[in-house]
Amino acid sequence: MARPTSPRRPIFNANRLLALILGLPVLAGVAGTLLPAFGYLPALGGFRFTLDHFAELAGLPHILRSTLTGLAAGLVTTSIAVTIVGIFMAGFAGSPIFSRVQHMVSPLLAVPHAAAAFALAFLIAPSGFVLRLVSPEMTGFSRPPQWLVPNDPLGLSLIAGLITKEVPFLFLVALAACPQLPLRQSRQLTAALGYGRLSGFLISLWPALYRQIRLAVFAVLVYSVSVVDVAIVLGPQLPTTLPVRIARWASDPELLARFLASAAALLQLAVVVAAMATWILIERLGKLLLTRLTSSGRRFRSDGAVRLASALAMAACAILVFLGLAILGLWSVAGFWPFPDALPASVTPRTWLRTLPLLGAALGTTITLALFAASLALLTAILLLHRNGAKGSAGNGIGYKSLYLPLLLPEISFVFGLQILIAAAGFKPAFASVLAAHYLFVLPYVLLSLAAPWRELDPRFERIAAGFGKSSLRILLTVRLPMLFRACLTAFAVGFSVSISLYLPTLLIGAGRLTTIATETVALSSGGDRRVIGVYALVQAFLPFLAFLVASLAPQLLFRNRRAMRT
């Protein structure tokens, strides 16, 4: 049997390697959380297994409320985000409006969570832009009202903030799954049978589409239930959601709070499991409804209003965040700006001049971390994809799924454990350990971003090169990588942006000794000067855009004499 070019059976299957790279630290982190939760942490004098820390946790004021608001906010966010994306796909996939909204929403993905949260906060706060626009004419307010917005106790602002970021993510994942659907045929078939666009899509295509995006939906659920940075900016205070409280205990100078943090991190893990179980119930219910709908034969021909609403909701996500960023920018240069003036009385560079020198060190750390994490992740991704061949990356093997491992567990539950392990092993929190944590979160996104273009490259180019006698490494370096240059840069930019936005891993692993723009920005949220927040949030939002700009311009410059390489 001749199988000369199939790569020699690797000793290490690339999928298993990936599962190891991502799985080992995640599981170690969970273990590092588990033991202290039951009282075992020799470094802090905990040698005895006990349930005391759980008892202490249960006795804390408002602990149930903290737990439930986080859980509810996550479930509501996920339901609404899936609904918006689902209805929008159903109503518009394949239409011209679709690509217009797509261009509007895609850049949103690059905006770091914290910056987007501040953008929203600056719009909706009692002294925010929206109320200024309509005051005092329509509201009669000459002073900002005493509303608890953002940080409302029900978590509505938190939900809104999460939705603006999770909708673009789910949308782009769904978009990537779209080519595998028989879109046009199904549309024609269901239209011929008299179904509306929405119901036709839901009946014929939604189940297949949902299967493809399901892991991403769970990632959204886990993220929303466990989010820290957005919840600090937009979420309820007194009590804050559980993950925020855990983050505070975990970075408490009083080291004994670590035991409490561990117990709470375990509780958070249980919350995530509960959220997943609830979501699976919601899925069942949805399936049942869809089956009912299908067999009822109802056509739902007049669905225009619902479709329009979904398009507006999609657009609103983009408009809110970008308008909010503009307001952030305005604040950063605002002179005197009393309520209810819609615009500042004067514009001054003073805040920037004052803040930039302070920001320098954190900016340097942030960029260095992001460059290293993205480069390492890109190298790993190339290595794994090369090792796997085009086939493996397409498969649904266990390795490919292990990509989602760091995204399907609450960050706080294993990153905190890693922090404890690192300390227990006697390492000082330093650049290298924070970099390792960033790498863990950056790699999945880089790999996801590169896998599709890697698969789509015409294999015949490499066959021709093999015919010329080139080794597989030579072919990788001279054929595949140059042809995927743009895709590699995009994957790099994705990784860079993820690193820029990482808050919790930086905070916990860096143990406060390594500050980045993300940690500084979020730290400003309590009582920070609006003008300074404007500067930090803008800088944070600007960095990913810079990366994507470079990714799109570099091929133009490097290949200015090669037309096929510029598009």
């Binding site: 070019t5 015409d458 093999a466 015919g467 090669r562 390489m565």
Partner: protein, 227 residues
């Protein structure tokens, strides 16, 4: 072409032999054949799409998907290359698309293909320039392949394969995407060059005009059946 063939050929041309080749997919026999292709001879394998002709080329070239089972031997002269990796077979392939590497210049594409044993920047460049001149593309060395016409691209692709000094040629419906006038012209050029270089060649096609033009033996295979 002569000069290039001579500058490059590793040894005198040898025949290509397929001995009891049988390819199966999931237990079902796709095709079975034995043939010897002499130097300068073009064996045409004809069959409708789905008949496994391209699978045959993948097997001979060493690119067969592991999903297939294959048995039999492939020989160059009396050297058995069945177990050899594709990048040690010295196989020249032309597909229906020219597949010029978009990040390289026209000349860069040729330099990429010229064997390592041609040493020295100057010698390699001269060889590439000469190959372009032969197909009326003198002065195209620095051009972006994307700016070439379909016929010009096809000619660059042909010369790229020939300067790589292959031991045999595989043609996978290489003319099917060219328009009628260009097809005739390109066909003649490719066949005459292959013969002049003394290469044993296998052509798979569903166009009987290709088979006629090749002027060699023709094997017809039916869809999914044994021959």
């Amino acid at each position: 072409m002569q000069e290039i063939a001579e500058a490059n050929s590793s040894a005198g041309a040898k025949s290509l032999t397929l001995s009891n080749v049988e390819i199966r997919l999931g237990g079902r026999a796709l095709l079975a054949l034995s043939a010897t292709v002499m130097p300068g001879e073009i064996l045409t394998v004809m069959g409708p799409s789905g008949s496994g002709k391209s699978t045959l080329l993948a097997y001979v070239g060493g690119f067969l998907d592991p999903a297939f089972d294959a048995s039999g031997r492939v020989l160059i002269g009396d050297e058995d290359i069945t177990e050899l990796a594709s990048n040690r077979r010295h196989v020249g392939i032309l597909f229906q698309d020219p597949l010029l590497l978009p990040h390289l210049s026209v000349g860069g594409n040729l330099l990429f293909a010229i064997p390592q044993r041609v040493k020295g920047h100057k010698a390699r460049r001269e060889l590439a320039e000469a190959a372009l001149e032969e197909v009326e593309l003198a002065g195209f060395f620095d051009r972006d392949p994307e700016t070439l016409s379909g016929g010009q691209k096809a000619r660059v692709a042909l010369q790229r394969v020939l300067v790589s000094a292959p031991r045999f040629l595989l043609l996978d419906e290489p003319f099917s995407k060219l328009d009628a006038a260009l097809r005739q012209q390109t066909r003649e050029l490719v066949f005459s060059k292959a013969k002049a270089a003394g290469l044993p060649t296998i052509l798979v096609t569903h166009d009987s005009a290709d088979a006629k033009g090749a002027g060699g033996p023709v094997i017809e295979i039916a869809a999914g059946e044994e021959v």
